[in-house]
Each structure stands twice: as C-alpha cells, then as structure tokens.
Symmetry: C2
Subunit: 341 residues, 2 copies
C-alpha cells in the first residue's frame, strides 16, 4: 500500500520534505468529544485498550478531525507488564495501579517473555487501522522503554520520585538487569509484531528517564533502548523520547534510532549540536495551547524557525492535557501546515 502522505517517514529518514510533518502525543484522547464517546462504550480503560475496533476508531479520529500527518495506535505502555504476567488497572484521575509488584528473583522468574501473540489485540487494532487509514498517513506503533516499564512494575503505580523503583536499581542491580532484559526481549517481540501488523514507524517512550542521573540512565535505561533500536531499525524508523533526560541527547544520537523526541526544556539549537544527523521531534509546551491564538501562532512560528525544515517532526514536548481546547490543537496543526518553510 502506497502512502499518500509519507512526510513523517521522509522526515524521520532525513530525506527532503516540502514542509515538516506534524502530529501530537496523546492526539487520540480526551481532548476529543469523539474519543470520550467511544471510550464510554468500554466498561473500563483496560477493556477499552483490549478492544481492537474501539482502539482503531480512536486512533483514526485525530487524522479526520485534527488533520495530523500520522496516526499513533491507541494503546498503553503497560500492556507489556500485563503480557508478561503482571496485570494493571487504571484508576480514574489517579493513574495505573498494579495489585502485585516485582521485588524478588522469584517474582522475575515467574514473568514470561511476551511475544506478539500475547498482544494479539494490539496487532488486530493495527491491522484494522491500517486498512481503515487506506494509506492516508503513516501509522506509528510504540512501547515503553524498559526502565519506565520496570519503574511501574516495581513501584506499583505512578510516583513523583519513583523512589522504590530507584531503590531497586541501587540495591538489586543484578535483579534489575535480569528484569530489564526480560522486558527488552518482550518489547522487541512486541514491536516486531507491530511492524508485521502495519506500523510504519515506532516510538519508544521513556517517560521516567528524568528521575535517573546520567550514569544510572546509561546503565539501566539507554543500553536497553539501544538494543531495541538495533533490532527494529532495519525494519522501520525508530524514535526515542526520553523525557527530562536533557543530559543524554548526544548518547541517544549514538544509537541506531532515526529520530529523537525532545521535551520543552530543551533548546532546539543545542539539541541540533548534540544530535548530529538525527531527526528531532518536538517540542512545544502543551500549556502553550491554553494561550490565545496570537500567542500560539507566534510561539509556534518561533519553534519552527529554530528547528528548520530539515530532519524535523513537529510535535509537543509531552502529551496533550485533557482540558486543552481542540480548536487550539487544530490551530497548532494548521499553523505548521501553512508555515512558509
């Protein structure tokens, strides 16, 4: 199937583009009334994620409504712990909760290495979405970085500090590496399945990168991300988004990733210096979209000018917040598309 709009893939590969592609993290989400209507059809979040028809529906909504240049499959990074034998639930307004957490070698031994078949519902959602998209835009697949997944499996929930998960790294480094290795193998199997099912590009989300110091980050996170990149990069472009890991851009650029996601604390010019020939993705503050139209336009223009047209994918520096007005999101997309590159 030929893509009618392959801007994202060309930008990721560093090829010539007419303008930068634009999509938004959490574009399939609560900012859209259409999403909330679909979400209401499932009895809870986990069931919602496991329903390929509903997941596919909300994946395509932002392509229709916002006019973005890519779809990203609606799912959750925590499907991996569940596929490995550690189920989660999503508590409204609080976030994920694991009834059981990982603390001992026995806990890790009990976990299975997941394969794509264990996540058949995601594969079905991708296949269905790919068919429905009919080549309009590329489809992005994703997983969480092994450190971020470990953080949830050990901590058992979200946390400001992830001090329990970090305590595990400091006190049980051998077990931590054993767990990271199992998560990495599962993630590679999972992402290979996603490519087979139709994903055109993959993004690895390291949401909790920023709670680690530089040395710990390389030892417990980036080396595993790098393994995933090495396994997947021959198939499709891979984006690494390590939130708040401002110190790691150069090392991230030494992996086989195609592009690097940046949060809004990173200066585009500094990132260009450190990232070599890698494509950069980002990095507007989601809160910018609370502003008036004039501010959104001028700040977005400033960002586009700073990044330039080459090797750039326009996005936010983090996911959309649920209370952002969808008209402001549409404006942001429109500003990028109409910019005189």
């Amino acid at each position: 199937m030929m893509l009618k709009n392959d801007l994202l893939l060309r930008a990721a590969r560093g090829e010539v583009v007419e303008r930068a592609p634009v999509w938004l993290m959490r574009q399939a989400g609560r900012i859209l009334p259409e999403y909330r209507a679909t979400r209401a059809k499932a009895k809870n979040f986990v069931e919602f994620v496991k329903n390929p028809e509903l997941a596919s529906e909300v994946t395509i909504q932002p392509v229709d409504i916002l006019g973005v240049d890519a779809a990203i499959i609606f799912s959750d990074i925590l499907v991996i712990p569940e596929a490995m034998g550690l189920p989660y639930e999503m508590i409204e307004a609080k976030g994920p909760r694991f009834q059981n957490t990982i603390q001992t070698k026995a806990d890790i031994d009990k976990l299975k290495i997941a394969d794509a078949g264990d996540l058949d519902y995601v594969m079905k959602a991708l296949t269905l979405t790919k068919k429905e998209l009919n080549g309009r835009v590329p489809l992005i697949g994703f997983c969480g970085a092994p450190w971020t997944i470990l953080a949830y499996m050990v901590e058992g929930s979200g946390s400001k500090t992830f001090s329990k998960a970090k305590q595990f790294l400091y006190t049980q480094p051998v077990l931590a590496h054993a767990l990271l290795d199992k998560i990495t193998q599962s993630s590679i199997n999972y992402l290979k399945g996603q490519v087979t099912a139709g994903a055109d590009l993959l993004q690895i989300f390291d949401s909790w990168a920023g709670v680690l110091n530089e040395k710990m980050y390389y030892e417990f996170s980036l080396q595993y991300i790098s393994k995933i990149c090495t396994a997947l990069s021959p198939l499709v472009p891979v984006t690494i988004f390590a939130k708040d890991a401002h110190y790691a851009i150069k090392k991230i650029s030494e992996t086989s990733c195609a592009s690097i996601g940046l949060d809004w604390t990173i200066d585009p010019l500094k990132a260009r210096q450190e990232a070599g020939k890698k494509t950069l993705q980002g990095n507007a503050d989601p809160c910018l979209l609370y502003s008036d139209e004039k501010t959104i336009i001028s700040e977005t223009h400033a960002m586009l000018e700073a990044f330039g047209i080459d090797r750039y994918i326009c996005n936010l520096g983090h996911g959309l917040y649920p209370d952002i007005d969808k008209e402001k999101v549409k404006l942001f997309v429109q500003v990028v598309k109409e910019y005189k590159w």
Copy 2:
C-alpha cells in the same frame, strides 16, 4: 557571636576551607525518630510549623545526631501565602491543599504584602535556635521562589504538571506579574527579618522550576529570584536552588547569589563551566542512600572528586526521603568529613 564552625559561610563566599561543609535538604524531618516524637506534640503540620519551640527543637536535632555543618530552620515555603492571606493545610501523605486559590485580579488585590511581623513565629524560632546553637554551626533561613509560591497559590495543591499554574502564566501574564511582584516583596521582607533574627545564609527553593521552559523561566521566575538576591546579598550569602532547571545555570550565575544548588541530573564539571566563580551545592541522588555502605562511599567519593574542595557545599540534589535509614545519612556525612581533600 563567633561561629565555631563557619565552613558553610566560607565555602559560600569562595574562601579557603579545610574541607567542604556538608548538610542535607530535609535533614530536619521524618528520617529521625526524634523528629517524629517532636512532631507528635503538635496537632497538625501547620500548628507544628507555627510553634517556635518545637520548630527550634527539630532544627537542632540533625546537628546533634547527624553531625552536619549547618542547621536549616524548620519551616515551610507555604508560610508566605498564608502570611499574604491565603492559608493552607497539609494533608498526610498527599501534600499541601489551599481551600481558596488565586484566579482573578480581585484575588490578587485582596492579598497583603507580608512583612516580617506577619511571620513572627518564624523569627522567634530563628532567635531561639540561634541561642541554642550557641555558635556551633551557621543557621540557614529560606523561602520559596516566587514562581513556586505562585504555582501553589494558583494550582491549589501539588501537581505533576502544574498545568493550571502554567495556564495562568500563558493566559494572564499581567496578573501573573502582579502576583509575582507581591510575593517577591513579601519574600524580601520575610528574608530581611530572618537575617535580623539570626539567619547566616539564605536559600531560595524553586522546587517547580523544571516545569517551565527556558524563556518562561527567565520571564516568570529568575527575574524575581534575582530581585530577592539583590536585596539580600549585601547582608548574607544567598543560595539559589532551581530544581530541574538544567538550562538556567549560566543565567543563575549572573545574579548576585553566592551559590547555586544542583539536582542530581547535572554533571558537576558542566556546572563548573557554566557557573563561573559561584559556589556549587549538591548533588547526590537521595536514592543513593538506599544503597549498601560500599556504594555510598564510592559514589560519594566520586562526587567529591568531581566538585573539588573549592567553592563547594556538599548536599543532596533534593530533600531526604522519609524512609531513608538515618545510619546511611550519618555515613554520608562522615564520608564527606573524612575525605582526604
């Protein structure tokens, strides 16, 4: 009163020291059973903070028990909103809550500019502590940075994103500056009172610096911190600790502060390059203190070597977590004191 141990003040001023001074953020706190015993005498956290005898007692405990080179007055950054007319309560295991928040010009107009007299209980606690310390170690006073205080006053509680507070900056910049100005004036009055009452050094905590991007940080935070520094630096050394504002070290060094606090994501050598002649303070990951003794010793040694003896104050990169073993904290202090500088 001559100080018997003035290492902290000499290090802050960039003078010659025999070894680096060491103290820890949140050293007066739940890691000490003695703190918990004193805390139990007050009916809630706010009453605890307002009781000069109890506040003084827990301020001195870590000097006796941990052997640190400084005391920091036990208080809370949220005494400033309260003194301005916006009271808070502290919910166990959840954090601060404000019944009323700031949203409109009328809300801001109603706030008073606090003076030291409005915070008489802190002045009394400082006077009492200064007397009890009897010159053993310097006494540190502190306040929150105006942006961090605004963040709580607008958001009404802690938050992962502080998206409501940031929305206020993006949509109501004129009101935000009016509020920041009132907080800044209150903070200057408050800190001048602290110096009169005996504080030998002041620290400004910008706990939520890291949720702002660089441009917003300079406009809505650093310029107000700088005004506080300009007002107080002629009296005592001032430390600025802007957590997660990795991009701002150079600009912070251009204020009249004496020293700059660093979180654990900052490389000491990089900070030295950017901070010019300013003293640096930090920056061990609090979670290091969950480790075994060997790891604590080797990682602390590595940090001391990286910073060097000149213009350095040893500390953590954030406050101690309540479940850290106090024996590990004592070890950390001892390692610094016994290091062959």
